[in-house]
């Protein structure tokens, strides 16, 4: 509760023209934003730029921020919209847009990330990445960021029931997939345990 009060104070200072206050808001929130974005877009070098865009966008939207709402979910809502725009841009590239020549990164999954995640041996997160984006999104908000289902509904501007059913569907799919992997590893006689 106290932290929330401090956020609101920093917002008020920023609105009054104190840039340093906004810098403080940035420092308190950037790690969460960065990790979420990086996981969802799975591209290291674009993450940095996108995070900067998110904070610039949030700064410009600050006038519309309602101090009765919690700050972090509000910021995460902006983050999700920017990620959506990014994905849309990428998709336009993959769809043979005329700019195709400039980069074919639309199809190229960032190789280094792929490699690192393999080295880190995170098959579970690989499974998460294979879920439809809408499911990945709620799972990440819930288990990486620890947002409550109510907060996720606000962030994504969707009904609470939809959040619940998406989490439920995602866990169901993950259970199916991981049980296949586990039984495979047992048969190999190795595995994690």
């Amino acid at each position: 509760m106290r932290a929330e009060h401090e956020y609101i104070e920093l917002v008020a200072l920023t609105r009054a023209g104190d840039d340093e206050a906004y810098g403080e808001l940035y420092e308190r929130t950037v790690t969460d934003v960065y990790r979420t974005v990086r996981f969802l877009i799975n591209h290291v070098s674009d993450t940095e730029d996108l995070v900067q865009d998110i904070y610039i966008q949030a700064y410009r939207s600050l006038d519309r921020y309602d101090a009765k709402r919690a700050f972090r979910p509000w910021l995460m809502g902006i983050t999700m919209r920017q990620v959506k725009n990014y994905r849309r841009r990428k998709l336009t590239q993959i769809r043979f847009n005329k700019r195709i020549e400039k980069s074919d990164s639309g199809l190229e999954v960032d190789f280094s990330v792929d490699l690192i995640s393999k080295l880190a041996h995170q098959p579970l997160l690989d499974q998460v990445r294979r879920l439809p984006y809408k499911l990945q999104q709620v799972v990440t908000l819930h288990y990486l960021n620890e947002y409550t289902q109510e907060e996720i509904a606000l962030i994504l501007d969707i009904p609470l029931g939809t959040v619940k059913s998406r989490i439920h569907a995602a866990l169901g799919k993950l259970r199916q997939k991981t049980s296949v992997i586990h039984s495979f590893e047992k048969r190999k006689g190795g595995g994690l345990a």
């Binding site: 990790r35 996981f39 610039i56």
Partner: protein
């Protein structure tokens, strides 16, 4: 371990060492400061709006869009004075048409009325190149300008979103145009190969792109990936040949 706990700990392990670069905050603040001082990167719609507004006012008539369109073409002289080219005007015409199609009548009237106010400011303050330097104005004017820009912002945003969506719809058209160019410039055999490559690319796209737009190249087998690289390379070299 329960799946939910496993997820939490997997996320924690994976992202533990991820953090934004130390210079991130300063860069972000720099970007914000330069924007609020008024020399922010001009947005394409804002620029169009200012040219539009500057043009509208000298005619003294603000009857509505039809009049403006007629007028634009009759006033190339004005264009040059303000450092614009005929191309700028064609673009502006297209943008206004787009806006008119996109907004309701009521919204369009509102949009044009805001542009008019912006135009009055532009007339009073623009330098010979037609550029605005709000940071040099009085605080009253600056405030008025910021308010205008802020009320125009939602309109611009909607227009930009609309054109983004349109880009995605343009795919069919892209295919038709590309085929046409390819047919003209390539030999018959090459054209046939090009068509096959195009279809191949679409086939792979259908596999790797989900309904919701996420890309999953890992769904391809090793052979398919190899084949895709091969197809892609050839396809791009054709596109380059076609100047696309």
């Amino acid at each position: 371990m329960k799946l939910e706990d496993e997820l939490r700990s997997a996320y924690r392990q994976e992202t533990m060492k991820w953090s934004n670069s130390p210079g991130g905050k300063e860069n972000m603040l720099k970007a914000i400061r330069s924007r609020s001082r008024g020399n922010r990167r001009p947005r394409k719609w804002l620029v169009a709006a200012i040219i539009a507004a500057v043009l509208i006012i000298p005619t003294g008539a603000y009857a509505g869009y039809t009049y403006l369109a007629d007028d634009i073409y009759g006033s190339e002289q004005n264009i040059r004075v303000l450092g614009g080219t005929a191309d700028d005007y064609n673009r502006l015409e297209a943008k206004l048409q787009e806006a008119k199609a996109h907004f309701s009548d009521h919204e369009f009237t509102q949009y044009m009325s805001l542009l008019k106010q912006l135009g009055q400011m532009a007339l009073a303050h623009a330098d010979p190149q037609g550029e605005l330097h709000p940071e040099q104005w009085s605080t009253v004017d600056q405030e008025k300008y910021n308010q205008l820009v802020a009320s125009l912002e939602p309109f611009f945003e909607r227009l930009e979103n609309a054109s983004e969506q349109k880009e995605m719809m343009d795919r069919e058209q892209f295919r038709t145009e590309t085929y046409k160019a390819a047919e003209e410039r390539l030999s018959k055999e090459e054209f046939i190969e090009f068509q096959a490559l195009f279809e191949n690319m679409e086939k792979y796209e259908a596999i790797v792109v989900d309904k919701d737009g996420s890309i999953h190249e890992e769904q391809l087998s090793v052979e398919q990936k190899k084949d895709l690289d091969h197809v892609r390379e050839k396809f791009y070299s054709y596109l380059r040949q076609l100047g696309l």
